[in-house]
Symmetry: C2
Subunit: 283 residues, 2 copies
Amino acid sequence: MNNVYVIGVGLIGGSFAIDIKSLYPSCNVYGIDSNSNHIEEALELGFIDSEATIQDLENAEVVIVAIPVDATLKVLPEVLDHISDETIVFDAGSTKEDICLQVKDHKRRRNYLAAHPIAGTEFSGPKAAIKGLYKDKTNIICEVEDTAFKLQEKALGLFSELGMRIRYMNPKAHDKHIAYVSHLSHISSFMLGKTVIEKEKNERDIFDMAGSGFESTVRLAKSSPAMWTPIFEQNKTNVIETLDEYISNLTHFKTLMEKEDFDAVYKEMEDTNHIKHILNGIK
Amino acid sequence: MNNVYVIGVGLIGGSFAIDIKSLYPSCNVYGIDSNSNHIEEALELGFIDSEATIQDLENAEVVIVAIPVDATLKVLPEVLDHISDETIVFDAGSTKEDICLQVKDHKRRRNYLAAHPIAGTEFSGPKAAIKGLYKDKTNIICEVEDTAFKLQEKALGLFSELGMRIRYMNPKAHDKHIAYVSHLSHISSFMLGKTVIEKEKNERDIFDMAGSGFESTVRLAKSSPAMWTPIFEQNKTNVIETLDEYISNLTHFKTLMEKEDFDAVYKEMEDTNHIKHILNGIK
């Protein structure tokens, strides 16, 4: 593998670059980023060799698009305009329907693989990039049949070398399910953080009384608004549906407490304990 | 230290026993538990030396009450009935107002220290007990002035040996703040788990698509209903208030999405990112 171009040298793109450089030490990795500080940081961290531009992509063997999903809608068609016939382009966006629609009729559609590696942390930027981020993680591939077979093979080979397991899904199903298991968690966490901050004007009180449980549920509230706002925008319909159901479940729980029906409160929790068995497989 | 009686040999009581045995290898640690399987497990794990009953407490130097808070209301006065003048009793309950009220006029009130170590995991039972659980954790002490000075000293000395930092608070303030930073997190997590389980009948889909973010926000939904139901019951007024505010914040977020005001959605998240600085101190 040679001439890998990473567009967006943050947590996601940077972690791909780190693992690719470790697998292919002689591979040239180029970085493209609208933030010149990020390019400098990525060069210093050593996971890219030099800066490049969209115009250079005709030399690319692999292009990884790892930028906010609103920017992807704009940049991905430009990327496809500039690559060669042999280039494989994949993205890492947390929405798939709008992105797939955007390039549906592009003459180089077959050079693009729609991907969503379910991996990340609450941090962002080049310094957040880590080795092995993708190991044992799921990568959801959409519309695989619309990617040229040989190019699919190249991308899937790389994912396999990174230790990922693959699931195939259509973009509509992806966006619907991911609203539940990812997008809703972020909003529940952000609003939990907001509720506590609003109440606890005196931060020492939060700091001193908060334990690891609070930290765990509020962790995602550290996430980047620049990354998450366009995700919520593109997946608006599904996310609003999940919020409706979540709010309705919370309201029901509150009503049970108001009615002092603590047997029912117990049962709500007991039924949900079942999540243990589901989560046992994650990590 | 000798003759320590642990009432409730689960995660919290067991972790105290483990650390006390490590600090005082020759200390006799007795276990009292309504669940005889738990006593057997605790004996096998070796963190108690023998089983005891409430009637044996006149020999106790220290009694640790680590049972669900509804059971504490019943058991704590019985404990105080049976101890000697020199015994210090402390609890570990996540509510303080009702418990302090319950023993307010007990003739041995001065033998009791109302404590809430902010420590735990989502697991329960003797096997969940771990060494060092209390290291660097906060222990909130209520109504310290109502405990005999020499007995305070003994308990605080132990907490210090376990590595805990102490905060003093009145029971009303404790219950109000803890509703925000602990009780609400548990409900937000349980209802998130419920929302996702209800939607995703096909568990493989959750399993495959859920990442570490979902796992983190839903972790507390594994918690014990037997422990949490009486906490919510005793802290009903405060918890309902936090739920009102949480639901209102979620509804506002949803309204912003429905109005497609994504600048405001961005700002909601940006303002809450501030939680980073608050959380930096926790661990």
